[in-house]
């Protein structure tokens, strides 16, 4: 906490007064800059490289028809969906980690993503219209979050019990998903299997709009709950003492975090480890803990998915890997590193 006084400046107007954290601002601006570069590269590079000048021309409506098809029809939605998914996952991960006071918690670790994947695959295999996918994923995510929470509850919520119960439930959900993959037609299965690894291949505006609607609803909801989140991160007694309606706030946060994960999963499939590492990177870069790192977690998540997708597209070109493979390769070692560093059976936060 050293230096908090010097690096925060008050921003005031007649109706508004906030302390602005300069380091947070710097990190966010940096993330936006990297995100813009990544978007530009992502739109420009690929099987048909389009020079950045032509990209700019196309975006203002002065490009060739081919360029316009490739950029507006294929690459731009992909980049934006990646960005949106990453932001949703980053925020969702930070909420879960702060709420259960466990740096290892993330929707994918505690089985929430597994539940969303199960219902999502069920929808893909049973041939329901794709518009139902976000709803299905949402139901799966919220149901599994409640189930994990209930099963891990034993007169209190031990963070490690939550994670272990989540691992077991994730295994059960994965078994259900495999069953659906075995009984389905190969064409549906292939679609579902690509979706399951977490992939932005073939993403269109159809995936983009539900995601935007979700984010427009859920980010303000998150912002409204930040005070409660910070209070809960101090422990239940302190939260009660601070006047937070603990049960309601906790329920609200779980629903919002699960919904964020669900919208991301519906758009791109479960992109693993992003929700887990984005908050860690954000906290480390900003030096903040708790809800105040939320904006940074969102931006870091978005940039992370976009950069990983760029790598996934280019590393074995012309084969496009699912972005989930790259995030797993980056994220799993990081998870293990954290485990190695904090290798003590305590509920650290």
């Amino acid at each position: 906490m050293t230096g908090t006084l010097t690096r925060r400046v008050p921003v005031r107007s007649r109706t508004f007064s906030r302390l602005l954290d300069l380091r947070l601002l710097a990190v966010c601006l940096g993330a936006v800059a990297v995100g813009l570069v990544a978007t530009a590269l992502s739109v420009s590079l690929g099987e048909f490289p389009i020079p950045l000048g032509d990209v700019a021309a196309t975006l203002v409506g002065a490009g060739s028809r081919t360029d316009e098809f490739i950029i507006v029809g294929l690459r731009l939605p992909r980049a934006l969906v990646g960005l949106g998914c990453g932001m949703a996952l980053g925020v969702s991960g930070l909420i879960f980690q702060t709420l259960v006071r466990n740096p290892l918690a993330a929707p994918d670790v505690i089985g929430v993503t597994g539940g969303a994947s199960l219902t999502g695959v069920a929808i893909l295999i049973l041939g329901a219209p794709p518009a139902v996918l976000p709803v299905g994923a949402f139901v799966g995510a919220v149901a599994s979050a409640s189930l994990v929470y209930a099963l891990a509850w034993r007169g209190g919520l031990s963070p490690y019990r939550l994670v272990l119960v989540g691992i077991a439930l994730a295994a059960a959900f994965a078994a259900g998903t495999s069953y659906l993959l075995v009984v389905g037609d190969l064409i549906d299965v292939q679609r579902a299997a690509v979706w399951l690894v977490g992939s932005l291949n073939g993403v269109t505006w159809d995936e983009f709009w539900p995601l935007v609607v979700g984010l427009v609803v859920l980010f303000p909801a998150t912002a409204a709950l930040t005070r409660a989140l910070d209070a809960l991160s101090l422990g239940e007694e302190s939260a009660v003492a601070l006047g937070v309606p603990v049960q309601r706030a906790r329920l609200g946060l779980v629903v919002v975090a699960a919904a964020l994960a669900a919208f991301a999963v519906a758009a791109s499939g479960p992109i693993g480890f992003v929700a887990f590492i984005a908050p860690h990177i954000a906290r480390r870069l900003t030096g903040l803990t708790g809800a105040s790192a939320l904006p940074a977690a969102a931006l870091v998540g978005g940039v992370l998915v976009m950069v990983c997708d760029l790598v996934a597209r280019l590393v074995l070109a012309p084969i496009e890997l699912p972005v989930g493979t790259v995030t797993a390769v980056v994220g799993a070692p990081f998870f293990l590193y954290l485990l190695y560093r904090a290798n003590r059976p305590v509920g650290g936060g």
């Binding site: 891990a152 295994a171 078994a175 075995v182 699912p322 390769v329 799993a332 190695y340």
Partner: protein, 349 residues
């Protein structure tokens, strides 16, 4: 630390089988149960076969549909179930003993995921086609994953706690699964074969596959049977084991080799099947107490019984279709895991 299996929170009553005679009788009862399970596995399925017909299929083969189903389909499947169940049960017992971790299981610790990744790589990247070839790769993958997980779980600031080991295993498994699916997604023919293998199934494997992996399974089981004394000593703690004249590093290495041979061989034949190795040792320990000289033989019997019953359940539950045994095991095993996590303070074995 002194008691080997009694949880600290709830003092467990003495196991039902305490005397040598009772335990031997229990083993005999296990053999009878196994015979019943084998008969069920031969008789139950889409085409029901009466017990008399099962016997006449061997004594008086007439080539009827029932006889063909029993001899050509269900016999190989049952034999594979016996071998794989025994191997997984023993692997789970030994790994729980050597890590002194009640949550250890070749599936949860990522060992099966390592074997699966190695096999898929061998098939689709290196073009390996023989089962013995698969088995070698499965062993290699199992070994690397086991060493990595144990090194990560056990290094750092404190000795491997049950929780860190399980978390390290979950992360390694998530990484390897993502890589495995990425490989399988590169081509749809691969995916079609892969989706049936990766759920873990006893069906559609011929006896040639079993023969290819049999040497590894045998070596693993023999090693396990010969390490029971060492496991008893290790259960008292490393220092006591050393003072009792155990060469701790050597016994650990031999026990780990047993786990790798059993788990790797089982995955090469049947694909990854989780939770057998978790459930079986707990059941055996509940019957005979903490003495590994009895637990290991009991696991050797209970593993096949559990796996065959789960396989038969899979044929009955969604008849005339079939649930793969890996899926049934996840549905049985996940609640057991959650119960273990919930039942009080996690203690080292």
């Amino acid at each position: 630390m002194t008691a080997t299996a009694a949880p600290a929170a709830e003092e467990r009553s003495a196991p039902p089988l305490t005397t040598g005679t009772a335990r031997a009788a229990g083993l005999l009862a296990g053999v009878v149960l196994l015979v019943v399970a084998v008969l069920l596995s031969l008789a139950v399925g889409a085409l029901p076969v009466s017990p008399a017909q099962v016997i006449s299929a061997f004594t008086d083969y007439a080539g009827t549909d029932a006889h063909v189903a029993v001899r050509e389909l269900r016999l190989p499947r049952t034999l594979i179930g016996i071998a794989v169940g025994a191997a997984l049960g023993v692997a789970g017992t030994v790994i729980q003993g050597v890590t002194r971790n009640p949550l250890a299981d070749p599936g949860i610790l990522g060992i099966e995921a390592g074997a699966a990744f190695a096999v898929v790589t061998a098939i689709y990247v290196l073009g390996v086609t023989t089962v013995t070839g698969y088995a070698w790769f499965a062993l290699l993958g199992a070994g690397v994953a086991a060493v990595a997980v144990y090194a990560l779980g056990a290094s750092g600031r404190a000795a491997a706690s049950p929780v860190t080991l399980a978390l390290a295993g979950a992360a390694v498994a998530a990484l390897l699964t993502a890589l495995t699916s990425a490989l399988a997604l590169l081509d749809s023919g691969t995916l079609d074969a892969f989706r049936f293998w990766v759920v873990g199934s006893l069906a559609g494997r011929d006896l040639g596959m079993l023969a290819g992996a049999e040497p590894f399974l045998l070596v693993g089981v023999l090693l396990a049977l010969s390490s029971t004394r060492a496991l008893n000593a290790l259960a008292l703690g490393e220092d006591v084991a050393r003072s009792l004249g155990q060469r701790v590093a050597l016994s650990r290495a031999l026990a780990a080799l047993a786990v790798i041979c059993c788990a790797g061989g089982a995955v090469a034949v049947a694909g990854p099947i989780g939770f057998v190795g978790l459930v079986v040792p707990h059941a055996a320990r509940a019957l005979v107490g903490p003495d590994y000289r009895w637990i290991v033989p009991y696991s050797l019997l209970m593993g096949p019984i559990l796996l065959l019953v789960a396989d038969v359940l899979g044929r009955v539950l969604v008849s005339p279709g079939e649930l793969q045994v890996g899926i049934v095991m996840a549905v049985i095993g996940a609640p057991v895991f959650i119960w273990l996590v919930r039942r009080g303070k996690l203690v080292q074995l």
